[in-house]
Symmetry: C2
Subunit: 236 residues, 2 copies
């Protein structure tokens, strides 16, 4: 069934008007007609079953038949702060995959050794949106604006805080550290890893050093490994 | 340090001659000189420390200083049989990521609902090779030629056999099924999932149905999830 992302929907209202772009897509591209059923997700856990009551190419009207709230609600909260990769496609690939597997919040962090200092947030957000539609996720992950590493680690966070650096030090894995059904913030560094000063700064701010296994992973692979592990460890 | 993939190297020989292409890359592109140190991997677990003894642009001679065998040898054997994705980039992305995380053998399987019936094996093998160099893996995963699903499931395999289909049936996760430090074959279906007949055929041939979690995953993401889980469950 066709799915639309409608963050502005009001659950208490029996009707919803698709905007001009979505209406055009719905009627001209998908060629849907009155009575055809569609699904809507609001990005806040709401999954709506609806049908087309007026097939207008600029102002399609949908009748809401049922609403399910908290659809696919997860039992933990995962926030990954990752240094955007030099090749932006690798970062965008991470956004898509992490959204499929399960993530709540992503913050691009600019580190001392970051080769990339900026991210097109609108473009990245669109990738996340298409991923939630593809994988039928009713919650839209939050994508924050890029922030300097040193500022980020000084912020207050709930739950557990980890840094996955590559320096030779004794580190434990998430399996040994994670308190289940909690909130987690995990720092993933750039191609050249975090600087020793950054690692020190993170530890001083209460982040615990962890290892993601023996393999030498690219930045985006390490971030996805962390995402897999947290979801896997919290699986019922 | 610069790394070269040299599958034809003879561990008993103190010298190695880079082929014309690698020699050109080594001398003209990397501009390495006599005495510069490089590393070689043979794809069979051998990691070699060498230095340039003759910087010839067509026939560079390397002096082998030390050899380490069984480098990064893993404690299990993972064979993933995956239906190549319609968009080949997604399949190639899986090859790169699975190689980084850890995989031993990959077989493209052509299923009833496969939109793609062929794979450029040479091109795919190159992607795996660059991934082992990037992630310093001394073992080169085996990439088999595409084979029809029905033929594949009739073959003999050592260890445990799983099929990750999406049909509504009671399935357990790998965490409950996996015998550690074993060999595993895992079947991952195409965009439209396996057909009921294919699932039945796999079960009849001793494959066990498993779930990879609650999320609706793309083909390449499901295959990588399986790769993550097997490696994670076998982590020391």
């Amino acid at each position: 069934m066709h799915l639309f992302y409608t963050p502005d929907i009001d659950a208490s209202h029996p009707m919803y008007f698709l905007n001009e772009e979505e209406s055009k897509h719905c009627i001209r591209v998908l060629r849907l007609q009155v009575g055809d059923r569609v699904q809507l997700i609001d990005g806040r856990g709401g999954l709506y079953n609806a049908e087309i009551s007026e097939a207008h190419p600029k102002r399609t009207i949908l009748k809401i038949n049922s609403v399910q709230t908290g659809f696919g609600k997860r039992n933990h909260y995962l926030h990954i702060a990752i240094a955007p990769t030099k090749n932006i496609e690798r970062f965008e690939w991470f956004l898509e995959k992490a959204t499929e597997i399960g993530i709540d919040e992503i913050t691009p962090i600019i580190c001392q050794r970051s080769e990339r200092k900026e991210v097109k947030i609108e473009r990245s957000a669109k990738i996340i949106t298409s991923a939630i539609k593809q994988s039928l996720k009713a919650y839209h992950p939050i994508l924050n604006a890029p922030i300097a590493f040193n500022q980020f680690v000084k912020q207050q966070f709930e739950g557990q805080k980890f840094i996955a650096h590559c320096m030779d030090e004794s580190k434990t894995g998430l399996a040994a550290e994670v308190e289940k059904q909690s909130a987690y913030v995990i720092l993933i560094g750039p191609e050249g890893d975090f600087s020793p000063a950054e690692v020190e700064g993170a530890l001083q701010n209460g982040f615990k050093a962890i290892t993601l296994g023996e393999s030498r992973l690219r930045t985006e692979t390490a971030a996805l490994e962390a995402c897999f592990e947290i979801n896997f460890l919290n699986r019922k």
